[in-house]
């Protein structure tokens, strides 16, 4: 479910947050879907369980996940629908940042970049 890189500069909990939000927003994690338990995920990726727990708690606070007694965490039922545009924009924010950075480094102008994005958008719709 998650692709975690413990050695990146991005803390593990942050990686989980970003990926979870993206998965829910894109519908790959439907409301009611069960997430792996903290222990399971920690063992699978060989990372500290507390960091998983921290991510889950933050997602719960956001309203993305809900805790069920005795059962693993599930995606909150109103997670998808209630996600406003701003939240969904937030998901792709890191990608946008990366693209802008790359463009700047390669000295691609803003206009050129927008043109490229538009072309990609139109191609995707075919």
């Amino acid at each position: 479910m998650f692709i975690l890189n413990p050695h990146s500069g991005v803390p593990i909990y942050r990686q989980i947050l970003d990926q979870a939000r993206r998965l829910v927003a894109s519908g790959q994690l439907a409301p009611g879907a069960e997430l792996p338990s903290v222990r399971e995920l920690a063992l699978k990726h060989a990372v500290n369980p507390m960091t998983i727990s921290k991510a889950y708690s933050l997602l719960e606070a956001e309203g993305l996940l809900e805790r069920n007694r005795g059962r693993p965490m599930t995606v909150a039922s109103q997670a998808r629908g209630a996600s406003p545009l701003t939240k969904r924009l937030q998901q792709i924010q890191p990608l946008v940042e990366q693209t802008v950075l790359a463009a700047k480094q390669l000295e691609v102008s803003e206009t050129e970049l927008v043109k490229s994005v538009r072309k990609n958008w139109e191609n995707g719709n075919d």
Binding site: H7, L43, V47, M50
Partner: protein, 292 residues
């Protein structure tokens, strides 16, 4: 009130004129997994042995579950597991006998767990310790510390001689051990990637002092590499307070900063006509930069 597993106040240790540990204060709560990093000679082993009472402090004190380290009662000692840097195995015994000897000291020894781990880790109970390789000995030393399910587990370079497969197995076992959230684990290692996976708090020992003492996540968010771009004049005069290092090259500058926050970025960008890209670093990079 949650009793802290380890609590140190102004802990110091010197050997003759040499000050190895200088005024450390810290607290370890159950559920913490603390990775101790430091150069060779920084005092990691001394610190761990100080904590457990193998050596008396020269100044200040350290308590384990509320008791001073040099006077730990029996019921506290059974809650502690220690893997020393130099193993304490008895050469003439077999693995099974060595396990039996140590098990006899602990009423809560879990032989089922040990048997399972022996199988998983490939430790032959009939092997004679005298004939075992360094890696096998290290695995045995680790097992000896796990068997009694201690509430405080202290490991000094436990995986220095293990191959990556064995290391991963060990990590998984530690993850399992810490999953309950009521065990405290402190381990020192040169293998930064292991610490990066497992620790939630990092101690960086430098010159006998704790250069960093806090969450791993905060560490990664706080020590960053800035790639600064601007016109030559702005670059020449750029100054970042609290920078660890600064390199300039024409229109570019690379700055290592600690205690970085987004506010500082906005501030810096506003002050001079600079554009700043922030690069987050892995733990090994951070460690290297702090020691440059």
């Amino acid at each position: 009130m949650i009793e802290s597993a380890v609590q140190a106040t102004h802990l110091s240790k010197s050997f003759g004129a040499k000050q190895v540990i200088d005024d450390l204060s810290f607290q370890v709560a159950p559920g913490d997994v603390i990775g101790v990093l430091g150069k060779n000679g920084a005092g990691k082993t001394t610190l761990l042995e100080l904590m457990l009472g193998f050596t008396p402090p020269s100044g200040g004190g350290v308590q384990i579950f509320g008791h001073p380290s040099v006077a730990l009662p029996g019921d506290v000692k059974v809650r502690v597991g220690f893997v020393p840097q130099q193993d304490e195995l008895l050469e003439q015994l077999s693995v099974a006998d060595q396990l039996r000897v140590i098990a006899s000291f602990y009423p809560q020894w879990d032989s089922g767990l040990i048997q399972r781990l022996c199988n998983e880790w490939g430790v032959d109970p009939r092997a004679r310790i005298r004939n075992m390789s360094v890696g096998e000995r290290q695995k045995l030393s680790i097992l000896l510390a796990f068997g009694h399910k201690p509430d405080l587990l202290v490991l000094d370079e436990p995986v220095a001689s293990l191959d990556p497969i064995a290391r991963r197995q060990f990590l998984e076992q530690l993850v399992d051990a810490s999953a309950g959230g009521d065990r405290a684990i402190i381990f020192s290692s040169h293998i930064v990637s292991d610490i990066e996976r497992l620790a939630n708090r990092i101690w960086i020992l430098k010159g006998g002092r704790l250069d960093w003492q806090g969450d791993l996540d905060s560490l990664k968010e706080s020590i960053v590499r800035l790639h600064v771009r601007g016109d030559a004049g702005a670059i020449a005069s750029v100054a970042v307070p609290g920078a660890l290092s600064l390199r300039r090259e024409g229109n570019f500058a690379t700055v290592m900063v600690r205690d970085w926050t987004p506010e500082r970025q906005r501030e810096l960008e506003a002050r001079a006509s600079l554009s700043i890209d922030v690069e987050a670093l892995g733990l090994e990079e951070i460690f290297l930069e702090l020691h440059r």
